[in-house]
């Protein structure tokens, strides 16, 4: 059948696309299931709001006690400032500070699996810390709440905004799932920045190796010019972006810190091509530690990027 220039032919062809209607009991069953799902989602959200309210009250109480203590011990002068001691000299403005960098909780959501191994995979141990990464004291997470785009316009699960929303507990609501195969997410830092470290959580609930992890930076949003590759573990160039010298790695809830040595760019693009469990690509959170280029004045001192300790492991 061909579609000639009248409306009836379009109507006829569209008629061929019609499907037999779904069973009424299926329709009703699914409708009821959706209502239950919505109620569950709203309940979880209400619990989260209550939890944050409790946290806020507790934080306010701790702050009030701290201010009171400072007033008592400093005679009302310099309230709120740390009390100087011999071991810890007074802190002045501009002095290096620790970067606030937290970890999600460890999860044991799945059947424990053997640690993935292979000739291209780094040896993994839950007890081994990642090597320390040092960043300037003034560096901060520039990616937080910045614009994110992706190669998959309709993610299977989640929304691209979640990549920089600060939520990284690895709950279902924190996860972005992109289509199978080679995919990327891209973060616009808003302005060119000296990037010192990028921290990536692909997946939190279990150990995983993601294939062809490639991290690039550029000042060109389309990544056509001025592209610098800061990490590439595509050892066989199966993704066609060039062969990488870096090793594949087993990722757990601690994510992965990539040192980038102050490379200057506005955009960060992170590639992957499935993982050892399935062909999809996932992101829980990405943090980019750096300083806006225009804010740089002189060579800032370096401090270690501190990672908070996770809760003790359960057997």
């Amino acid at each position: 059948m061909t579609a000639s220039n009248n409306r009836d032919d379009v109507a006829d062809l569209m008629g061929a696309y019609e499907a037999p209607p779904p069973r009424p009991d299926f329709v009703e069953h699914l409708r009821a299931g959706l209502e239950t799902e919505l109620e569950a989602a709203l309940t979880a959200r209400r619990r989260l709001v209550r939890l944050w309210a409790y946290v806020g009250v507790a934080a306010a109480a701790v702050l009030a006690v701290g201010i009171g203590w400072a007033l008592l011990h400093n005679g009302g002068e310099g309230a709120g400032a740390p009390a100087p001691t011999g071991a810890n000299p007074p802190v002045a403005l501009g002095t290096p500070r620790r970067i606030p960098f937290s970890l999600p909780n460890a999860q044991y959501a799945c059947t424990p699996r053997a640690v993935p191994k292979g000739p291209h995979i780094e040896a993994y141990s839950i007890t081994r810390e990642q090597p320390p990464v040092f960043v300037p004291a003034t560096a901060d997470n520039l990616a937080r709440d910045m614009t994110v785009s992706s190669s998959d316009p309709w993610p299977i699960i989640g929304a691209v905004e979640q990549v920089t929303d600060g939520q990284k507990q690895g709950w279902d609501t924190d996860l972005l799932e992109l289509a199978p195969g080679l995919q990327w997410v891209q973060i616009d830092l808003g302005q060119s920045a000296a990037i010192h470290a990028i921290v990536v959580w692909h997946y939190v609930p279990s150990l995983r190796v993601y294939h062809d992890v490639i991290i690039q930076v550029s000042d060109d949003a389309g990544f056509r010019t001025g592209v610098t590759t800061v990490y590439n573990n595509d050892y066989d160039n199966s993704s066609g972006l060039g062969m990488g010298d870096d090793m594949e790695y087993v990722e757990d809830y601690r994510g992965r810190i990539f040192e980038t040595n102050g490379v200057r760019s506005r955009y960060v693009r992170l590639w992957s091509r499935g993982n050892i469990d399935n062909d999809q690509n996932h992101y829980v959170e990405v943090e980019v530690y750096g300083e806006p280029v225009e804010a740089l004045d002189g060579q800032p001192a370096s401090v270690e990027l501190k990672v908070g300790l996770p809760p003790p492991l359960a057997d």
Partner: protein
Amino acid sequence: MTVGPTDGRPAEPLGTEACGLVTDADLIRAVQAGNAAALAVLYRRHLPAVWRFAFARLRGDTATVEDVVSETFLAAVRRIDRLRPEGGSLAGWLIGIARHKIGDVHRRRARVRSGGAAEAQTESVTAKDAGDPAAPLEAAETRTRVAEVLDALPEDQRMALEWKYLDKLSVRDIAHRLGRTEKAAETILYRARKAFRETYDRRDTR
């Protein structure tokens, strides 16, 4: 229970078929606020398109179509709080989820390597003309080709055609669903028909 449009139009009851005047953005806001009636309207509104989409690509394997459609709507409800009401086509988003769910099905089947039987059995059952042995095949081929043509169209054109010719909606209702004026909806329909014919004929002559 009512859902309040945000453009000054009066709120309307979420009755059985009165929901044509409520935009998707209105519905998303209401669902995000916990309105179960709005969820039911949203579901009723978009179920046909998602069902047809899955049915055409799974060749009438009804059991799998039900699985895919269920997973699609459940995933959508779980993510509804993250959805921006004005952030794009809700129908397109749902179809996108369904597309990926279907991709998962195909991948699973490829791994099992036992497919074929399930796909072949169902299309023959759904064929209208049981007397003509070639009819099921032709119907399946036409459906597949129309599905490919629809996939090639912009999302608003695709939905306008489905709503017009399969769901039998008026231009006014289509305009409301698209969040556009009636004139704009007519233009979209005109362009959709034109693009549909051209794309279909181009594929037909290959």
